[in-house]
Amino acid sequence: MAVVPNTLKGFGITLKQVFKKPITQQYPEYKRPVYPRYRGRHRLNRYENGLEKCVGCSLCAAACPADCIRVVAAENTADNRVSAGERYARIYEINMSRCIFCGYCELACPFDAITLGNDFEISEYNRDDLIYTKDMLLAPPTKQVPVADRDLYDTPIPYYKDHA
């Protein structure tokens, strides 16, 4: 007849929870800081002198398992110098509705031109709005999410995250 006290114990455990503060984080009001190496919305980076790092080599597109990156390259000319290399990305598009945020593009890039940022609030009402163009990727992210203090984590931060 251990059933009865055990059953009552169960009632006690649930009743105790009522008097505790719920552990739920109220998301839109409170945003939990993301992990410093969190893989979120992509960014295209520039050098300090304003030239784009991307040379339109399409290695990111080749590495992408979801096949969501489209790069069309063009030659740099003397009066239209866009990137530091010989060529530049005339069209650079990422289809965010297909992207799985694996970070392979970041690994494949020889110039650290594309990096994954920390923003995750990238939902849209329209699928077309999820195709990010080069201008959108070059611009600083529109929404900033809090990022946790990196000293709290012992994994090293890749150097290009610091110098992006």
């Binding site: 169960g10 009632f11 009743l15 929870q17 505790k20 719920p22």
Partner: protein, 333 residues
């Protein structure tokens, strides 16, 4: 003390709407309380404290397409949820809310209709409501619905026996099948949950199984089995089944309050009985809260455990309780 017919009509309209309101409140209370019992907030977005959640639910269910399987047996498939809902609501017509009042020379009784055999009527309507579940599962023409309705049928039929036997003690002590008389008897002697404690426990356990609430919710068993008899239902038809289940729970709580906790009667102060509906509702929702607490605390039974418990534990205990009560009532006389 005869009641004019149109007063009964008005009362029935009020009672139906109030019970529907209670249903909405119960769904909210269940979510909120379940959340708090599991260290969550529960609904807190739609309206203050999430109170508009039932309305949002209603809007969602009404706008949702209620599609039916092509081979569903049409009239029965549509009638089944209506039948369940009707019997659930109708059972509330005989539960007394107050001792009865006289306003402007018109007599208003405490319930919609004062039937001499109201307790039997409630059980009869409860048994009819089971047909809704069985017919719904069968008319869906799906094996999962069929199996679900068989599960429901077996559970409800087994536990109905214990449930009916458990109130026998109250009937013997109250010397009546009329709920108003039973409440009056409790007012003059004492609330029946003290002498009939075994009966109360059996009634509650049987009643939870009858309303297929967790931990006896094998008819549905969301996480382990397919939804059961309402597998093929969607939209407001499904909503009617769900409403019927919740209203059954409210009816059961109301019946339990009436039979064991003095109904609309306020302890020690009988002059407060004219506020009967308030005490009744307070007691009713306390009991509903206890049901929700039970849901949060106990795991679901296995099917063989359910059957064993119903037939080998609950039924003998209920029978012995009825026999002992009968003997004692005769001895005291």
């Amino acid at each position: 003390m005869h009641e004019v017919w149109w007063i009964t009509l008005i009362k029935s309209a009020i009672v139906v709407n109030v019970v529907m309101l209670f249903f909405a409140l119960t769904t909210w209370l269940e979510r909120k309380l379940l959340g708090r019992l599991q260290n969550r907030y529960g609904p807190n977005r739609a309206g203050p404290k999430g109170l508009l959640v039932p309305i949002a639910d209603l809007v969602k269910l009404i706008r949702k397409e209620a599609f039916a399987p092509m081979s569903a047996k049409e009239p029965l498939y549509i009638i089944a949820p209506v039948l369940s809902m009707f019997t659930a609501l109708a059972a509330f017509s005989v539960i007394p809310w107050g001792p009865g009042w006289t306003v402007d020379g018109y007599y208003i009784s405490g319930q919609v209709v004062n039937v001499p055999i109201s307790l039997i009527l409630i059980f009869a309507l409860g048994s009819l409501g089971i047909y809704g579940f069985i017919i719904g599962g069968w008319a869906s023409d799906s094996k999962f619905s069929m199996l679900g309705s068989m599960r429901t049928c077996a559970q409800l039929v087994s536990y109905e026996v214990s449930l009916a036997l458990s109130v026998l003690g109250v009937v013997l002590m109250g010397q009546s099948l009329n709920l108003t008389h039973i409440v009056a008897k409790q007012e003059t002697t004492m609330w029946f949950f003290i002498p009939q404690f075994v009966g109360l426990v059996v009634f509650l356990l049987g009643g939870i199984a009858e309303t297929s609430r967790p931990p006896f919710d094998l008819p549905e068993a969301d996480t382990e089995l397919v939804a059961g008899y309402h597998t093929e239902y969607s939209g407001m038809r499904w909503g009617l089944f769900q409403a019927a289940e919740y209203i059954n729970m409210i009816v059961l709580s109301g019946l339990c309050v009436t039979l064991f906790f003095g109904g609309f009667h306020f302890p020690w102060v009988s002059s407060l009985d004219k506020f009967g509906p308030i005490w009744f509702v307070v007691k009713l929702f306390t009991l509903v809260g206890a049901f929700i607490w039970l849901r949060a605390s106990q795991p679901r039974l296995r099917y063989d455990q359910l059957m064993r418990f119903g037939w080998k534990v609950l039924l003998p205990v209920a029978t012995v309780n009825a026999l002992v009560t009968a003997a004692l009532v005769v001895a005291v006389k």
